[in-house]
Amino acid sequence: MHELPITESILKIVLTYAEKNDVRQVMAIHLRIGKLSDLEDDWIQRYFDYLSKGTVAEGAKLKIERTPILLQCNVCATSYDVEITNISDAVCPDCGQKDSKMISGREYYIKDMEVQ
């Protein structure tokens, strides 16, 4: 639901980098977004297509890599992946304890972009 402000931020950062690097056309943007985020990839692209009209980023494809939800066991420090659907039942694969902290899964990050 909050794809619009996120997309506005993406475009702003992309255009800043495009200007700094004398870019004529942005072809693709690589994003890293945590699996805990509810963002819909299709909607980010649709908003981006709309917002980027008339800029050097018009027509750029957003390539989204979803980073896993990674928990770290508070007992034995083992890190392990969980899916959003079974996060509540997840236990440490090494020691079987549930007590853990989240170390990734909430990322909102622009990695790089392909440009001409």
């Binding site: 702003k12 985020s37 790089d112 440009v115």
Partner: protein, 227 residues
């Protein structure tokens, strides 16, 4: 044809908001004003909880309220009717508050005159969880009629909160809501969260909430150096 180049960006998409939010936190630390962000679905009892909080604090803290709503001033009017300074922010269709909007609310309230400011965020369990408002504490309400499965559907919200208030416990006898299952699901997501069962209708459990709140404000204010 021109070659395609790769430019490294390595930027946080929400960096601007995070920066503004950190500024809000710092500014309110200087005036010893604790900012609390209250989130929930529509209709789970945010405004009722604020009214109960006004009553429970009995003037022991200087309280201000920032209300956010898509397009109405109903909530702020209810709070202001109790003699509490309240600002209504109309988000104009936005599904959440961000730190810049909160800054406007704080400016309008003259924040330095308060010990505690409560933000009533837009009713929504998804978007408000993603945007740092600059609050020092995040609190959410889940009401019994919404069901005990909500941590499975909206895990992010449960992971970012310091307190979960389970409201409308007066409905428990009418529903198949499983409190033990809820607690297990929530604590798996966030072992540090404090869960308090309340009914804003009957007042049950509200004392526990007020006690938590007073203690947190005391700790917060003591922790800030005098200016």
């Amino acid at each position: 044809m021109e070659d395609v180049r790769l430019i490294e960006v390595k930027e946080e998409i929400l960096a601007d908001n995070i920066k503004v939010a950190s500024g809000v936190r710092e500014r309110l630390r200087n005036t010893k004003t604790m900012l609390l962000n209250l989130m929930s679905s529509p209709g789970s009892g945010k405004t009722s909880l604020i009214l109960r909080t006004v009553e429970g604090l009995k003037g022991s803290l200087r309280l201000g309220v920032i209300e956010a709503d898509i397009d109405s001033t109903v909530d702020a009017e209810k709070v202001a009717a109790r003699g509490i300074p309240a600002i209504q922010l109309r988000t104009g269709g936005f599904c959440h508050l961000d730190a810049t909007m909160v800054t406007q609310g704080i400016d309008a309230l003259a924040a330095s005159e308060f010990d505690l400011i409560i933000i009533e965020n837009v009713g929504n369990l998804v978007c408000p969880a993603e945007f740092d408002t600059g609050a020092h504490k995040n609190v959410m309400i889940l009401s019994v009629p919404e069901g005990d499965d909500k941590p499975l559907k909206y895990p992010l919200m449960f992971t970012i909160c310091n307190v979960l208030l389970v409201n409308k416990i007066d409905y428990l006898s009418l529903s198949d809501f499983d409190m033990a299952a809820l607690r297990k699901r929530v604590l798996a997501l966030n072992p540090n969260i404090r869960i308090i069962e309340v009914s804003c209708k009957t007042g049950a459990g509200v004392g526990d909430w007020i006690a938590w709140l007073k203690k947190e404000v005391d700790v917060f204010r003591l922790g800030q150096r005098s200016v």
